[in-house]
Symmetry: C2
Subunit: 324 residues, 2 copies
Amino acid sequence: MSKVVIGVDLGGTNIKAAVVSEDKKIIVQGDCPTGAAAGPGPVMDLMAGFVKDLIASAGLTMADVLAAGFGAPGPMNWRSGVVFSPPNLPGWKDVPLADEMKARLGVPCYVDNDANVACYGEYWMGAGQGAESIVVFTLGTGLGGGIVVFGELLRGIDGTAAELGHLKVQKDGRLCGCGSKGCLETYASVTGMLRTAKEGWDGADTSLKALCDNDPGKLTGKMIYEAAMSGDAFARDVFTETAVWIGLGAASMVNALNPERIILCGGMSKSGDLLYETVRKTVKENAFEVPAARCQILPAGLGNDSGVLGSAGCALARHHAASC
Amino acid sequence: MSKVVIGVDLGGTNIKAAVVSEDKKIIVQGDCPTGAAAGPGPVMDLMAGFVKDLIASAGLTMADVLAAGFGAPGPMNWRSGVVFSPPNLPGWKDVPLADEMKARLGVPCYVDNDANVACYGEYWMGAGQGAESIVVFTLGTGLGGGIVVFGELLRGIDGTAAELGHLKVQKDGRLCGCGSKGCLETYASVTGMLRTAKEGWDGADTSLKALCDNDPGKLTGKMIYEAAMSGDAFARDVFTETAVWIGLGAASMVNALNPERIILCGGMSKSGDLLYETVRKTVKENAFEVPAARCQILPAGLGNDSGVLGSAGCALARHHAASC
């Protein structure tokens, strides 16, 4: 039978893994807690054991495996597979993840950052399949990005590209965690939406106040979305304002890259028409006519599995490129 | 002897042409007035005659020519070589420039937009030579852009990519000629600089007032630059403010694309330290550390010839790709 490829999404809380055939069929997948507190050695042993069990559960052996790919939090050197010091993996410092996993699994191992593998997953098997080029915005606490052009992830010369949450969208705007001001993610993310709500909080007539004991520090993105859907005008304005900012970031990417599709991933991407209508309208009003008419703006096709499947896809692509 | 390639930069005022060897040696070059008022037929006849004369003046014949490339104002279809209706070429409407020139010259002809060929020129023979990836900002009346990644121009699916003057940098900001608001070029271009000067004009104590009879409509970018260099504080602030905006646009590109170099072209790119120190400082303060430290920010290496030489370079690259 044909060979398979392994994808692993290494998160601070959970590890997801999948075994995928070269023709993009998911053979088996699963997840387990990361147990990150134990540090890199035990986490890597756990990943290796979990992956071997998955392979066995599918009636396969490691001899059937072409390669394994790991999506991990950055910063990292994707070429060497060394993970520097991700904030949510305590004790990880310059860990040679690719080499360590190759030693444990006996197959070629490739490492890429989590935002990039999620983007590649959408390109390979999701809403970006068959597209000439895609841009992915991952809407969560922050705003992550990914870019595929010429059939490849655009990683940049140091592998730091596609930090689309750090496009500058407002001079002297909101202070960003990166140290700069006016970054897109300070407006166009769940955290950005919460900041917008807090800024308008004092005079607002909103059901949100009762929901969070009038303490805006207890607000969540979900509360705002649900209140907006229930007809709360303040919540609706806050959500729409956030969607306009996402649309302005998308319009910049439409003008800069003329991509075939822009794909929204992450929790907030599941917000349906309330999100997509505003984003599409904002792009139409702010980008050039031809590329705006061309660019489809779509929700992720793989839900929460963009990362784990994209890790497999990236590994396969890199393995084929290395074998050329 | 080895073959040559022809590059032509078709502008509204002048036509520039160059004959270049495959190993990037300029054999001969020249220019002549476009005579745009005569319309497309006579302009194309003129270009063909001018190019043939250049070839003959170098002791060559058209049999020595591998291909010819034409940089023309957009919008256009670069694949088919049809130029739609450029504002500064009166009477041009859906002109099949590539086919028409092939009929006149008898060699394969390729058409690309002027901003893209200038970018490719810098990559092929100028300040971008040998770089893994470059971003070009052409600072003139507006702000044009170009992107080379993976060794190729990033044109986008419709050929409209790299409109970097239309990154959104200020919500509800200055009205742009494109119909949107807050586009980078409304701040980071000669026109943007003039707008900044006019906004601060009334209360300003500046030598510029005498220079232009206190009519800010008569201001030019050169006046502001020269006054700034002579120590006029208002002019210096206006110039620096413009350079900060260019730096913010550059910081966005550093974060989004992690390019090896950003190259500034166009008249304003010759402003020396007054420009480059502010742009570099702004990038350092606003982009991530690794890609900001990596990215060199440089003036054009080919001066005003990026376009004509890039037209030759593009034609050569496309001719080789088509022959594969």
